[in-house]
Symmetry: C2
C-alpha cells in the first residue's frame, strides 16, 4: 500500500484510516454474508441492519430527540437550498436568511424563487470575513436559515443564532456538523452534505423535527417531499447505500472516541495551535476576524500572492496537499475536519516555521 500524505482538502476530505480499512473489508463481504456492502439489496436484512444502526448511532451521538427524523437524501446541500423553500415558504410568506458566505448566497438565490427573503444580517461588506453580531429578524418569518461554518471564508458561528420564539431555525451545517456538541432542540432542521465531516460524498444528512416534515407542501413530486423519505426510512427509492454505510462507520468512530465532546476538544486543540502560530507569525496572517474564526477551515495569507504560491509548492514537497485557498479569498486554507490528524497540523506548523525562517520580511 502506498504511503498516505496529509490531506487538507476542503471536501471531499480526509477520512479516519480505521474507517477506510473497515470499508475495504466490508466491500468484499459485509460480515459473513458473502456479499459486499455495495452489492446488498437496500431492502435486505443485512443493509437494513446497517441503515438502522447508522440512524441509531447518529441519534446517540448528537442526542437527537425522538421527535426528530433522521433522513439520508441525495443532491448535496445544494438540493436542500431549493427543497427547503419549496416545502416551507409560500409565495406571500417571508423567510429570514443570515448571509455569511457563498453557500448562504446560493440558498438565498433559490429561496427567492418561492417567496420573500429577508436578509437578517450580512458580512458581505468585508468579503464575509466575519460573523455579524447583530441579527435583525423579521416579524413573522416561516423559518430562519443560517450556514454554521463558511468553508470558503473560514468563519464559524460560535453558537447558533436565536430567532423569535416559534420560528424554526434551519441550519446548513455541511462543514462543521458533529464537530462539537449541538443542542438539536434549538433547531427545526439541520442538514449537511456528507463529504466534509461525515464521510465520502454522495449523501445528505437531514435532521428534521417531525412537525416540520408534516408542515411541508404536499403539492410537490413525491421525491421532493420530506414526508416521503421520513415514512420509508430513506428507502422510498434506492438510497446511496455505500455512502450511508461509510457515514455509519464514521459515527461509530466518533462514538468510540469520546463522542462530540471528545472530538470538540481535539478540534479546539488542532485549530488552537494553528491560530496561535498565525497570531505570532510575522509572515502569515489569518484572514477571518478573531471572534469568527472557524475551527474547521483555517484561512491565511502572506499578503504576497507569489509567496503564497511558493509556500503551497513548499508544502507539497513535504507530503501535504490541498492547502491552496479558494479563489474568493486567495492564499491558503487548511481544512482540518474531525478526521484530520493532529500530526498533520504539527507538520504544517513546522513547514510554516521553516518557510518563514527562509523568507523573513
Amino acid at each position: 500500500m502506498s504511503d498516505r500524505i496529509f490531506n487538507f482538502s476542503a471536501g471531499p476530505a480526509v477520512m479516519p484510516e480505521e474507517v477506510l480499512k473497515q470499508c475495504q473489508e466490508d466491500m468484499w463481504s459485509l460480515g459473513k454474508t458473502g456479499i459486499g456492502v455495495m452489492e446488498h439489496s437496500h431492502r435486505g436484512k443485512a443493509f437494513s441492519a446497517v441503515l438502522l444502526q447508522t440512524i441509531a448511532d447518529c441519534r446517540a451521538l448528537a442526542k437527537i430527540p425522538d421527535d426528530y427524523d433522521i433522513l439520508f437524501l441525495t443532491g448535496g446541500a445544494s438540493s436542500q437550498f431549493f427543497m427547503i423553500p419549496m416545502n416551507f415558504l409560500g409565495k406571500d410568506q417571508t423567510a429570514d436568511y443570515l448571509m455569511t458566505g457563498a453557500w448562504s448566497k446560493k440558498a438565498i438565490g433559490d429561496a427567492k424563487r418561492y417567496g420573500n427573503v429577508h436578509v437578517a444580517c450580512s458580512s458581505e461588506d468585508k468579503n464575509c470575513s466575519y460573523i455579524p453580531a447583530e441579527v435583525t429578524w423579521s416579524k413573522s418569518a416561516v423559518y430562519g436559515h443560517f450556514t454554521s461554518n463558511n468553508t470558503i471564508f473560514g468563519t464559524q458561528f460560535k453558537t447558533e443564532p436565536t430567532p423569535p420564539a416559534g420560528v424554526p431555525l434551519i441550519c446548513d451545517a455541511s462543514s462543521d456538523i458533529f464537530s462539537r456538541p449541538i443542542d438539536v432542540t434549538k433547531y427545526g432542521m439541520i442538514y449537511a452534505g456528507s463529504q466534509k465531516n461525515l464521510g465520502p460524498a454522495g449523501v445528505t444528512l437531514v435532521i428534521i423535527r417531525k412537525d416540520l416534515v408534516e408542515r411541508g407542501s404536499k403539492d410537490l413530486p413525491v421525491m421532493l417531499q420530506y414526508r416521503t423519505h421520513a415514512k420509508e426510512d430513506s428507502c422510498y427509492n434506492t438510497p446511496p447505500s455505500f455512502p450511508i454505510y461509510a457515514v455509519g462507520q464514521v459515527f461509530k468512530w466518533l462514538l468510540k472516541n469520546g463522542g462530540l465532546e471528545g472530538i470538540a476538544a481535539k478540534n479546539e486543540a488542532k485549530a488552537g495551535k494553528l491560530y496561535d502560530y498565525l497570531d505570532q507569525s510575522s509572515l502569515f496572517k489569518a484572514t477571518a476576524a478573531g471572534d469568527s474564526r472557524s475551527l474547521m477551515n483555517v484561512t491565511f495569507v502572506t499578503g504576497d500572492e507569489k509567496l503564497d504560491e511558493q509556500f503551497i509548492a513548499f508544502t507539497k514537497e513535504r507530503k501535504m496537499d490541498g492547502l491552496k485557498g479558494h479563489r474568493s479569498v486567495g492564499g491558503m486554507r487548511a481544512s482540518i475536519y474531525n478526521a484530520f490528524p493532529e500530526a498533520g497540523v504539527d507538520a504544517l506548523i513546522a513547514a510554516m516555521k521553516e518557510f518563514e525562517s527562509q523568507n523573513r520580511k
Copy 2:
C-alpha cells in the same frame, strides 16, 4: 476474506470481483497520490482525471456521439421521473408514456403534475407480463418515454419503440443499460440509476442530446436544470465521487471484456440457459410472455406459494441469495445483470433440477 456467494439481488446488485479489488486498493490511495479516492477534492487533478476518463470510457463503450452530454446526477431514476417533465413538458403540452410496469407508472404519476400524459400502450391488463406490440403515439408529443426493462415483471423491449419523426425518445434504462449494443442516435435521452448494471447505488447516468439540454426550462432551481450539470461537467456541486469512480471501473471492465457486443453474447447465453431449463421444466414456469422475456431479470414460479418458499430456502442452503420475487409477481426472480457470473446460473439450474427431482408434480 470471507467466501462470496451467488448474489441474485435485483439492485443494488453484484459487481465484478476485479472491480471490487481495485476499489479496495484505490480507497487507501488513488494511484500514488497518497490520498484515497473518496478523499480527493472533486476539483483536484486526481479526481478530475477519473471523471474525464469515466466520461470518455462511457462514450467509447456505447459509441455516444459528440452531440450528447454524459451527466452524473443523483436522486436515482426516481428523480428523473419529475426532472424530465419539469424541464420538457409545458402545462398545455402532451408527452407519450409507454406503460409497462411499476417504474413507468411512477414516471407517469410525476409527469401528470406538469402537463398532459397520453398512455401510448399498456400491459396492465395482464399484470405487466408482456411488452405491447402496438404503440399509439399522439399527434404532437413533446417526447415519448419508455422503460426498457421491467425489473419487477421480468420483461424487456427487444428493441426501442419508434416515435413519430422529431419526437425525442426518452428511456429509463436503469435495469438493462449497457447490457447490449445501443444505437444512441435513436434517443433524445437515456437515463439509469447506477445500482443494477453500472456499479454501486448513488449516481444516475444521464445521456442527453445537447439540443434537449438547451430546450429545458430555465424557470427552475439551478440544480434541477440539465444545463447546469452539462456546463460544469457534473461538478456544479460536489458529485457522488466514489460511486462515479466505481462506475468508471465497471466501464473499464466492460471495455476490456469485449464491450457491449461481448457482454450481450454473455447475457444471452446466461438467460438462454435459464429460460431453456424453465421451458422444459414440469415444476417451474417463467411468468413473462415468451417474446417479452428479460435477459436481466428472469421471473418464475412453481404455481404453489409454499413450494416457492421452500425452493428459496433450498437455494440459500446452496450459497445463493436474492431469489425471492417481488411481491407484485411472487415466486422467484433471478437478476443476472452484466456482472453476474455464468457459474451462478449453472448453480441455480443445478439447484432447480435437484429440487424438481425431489418435488415431482
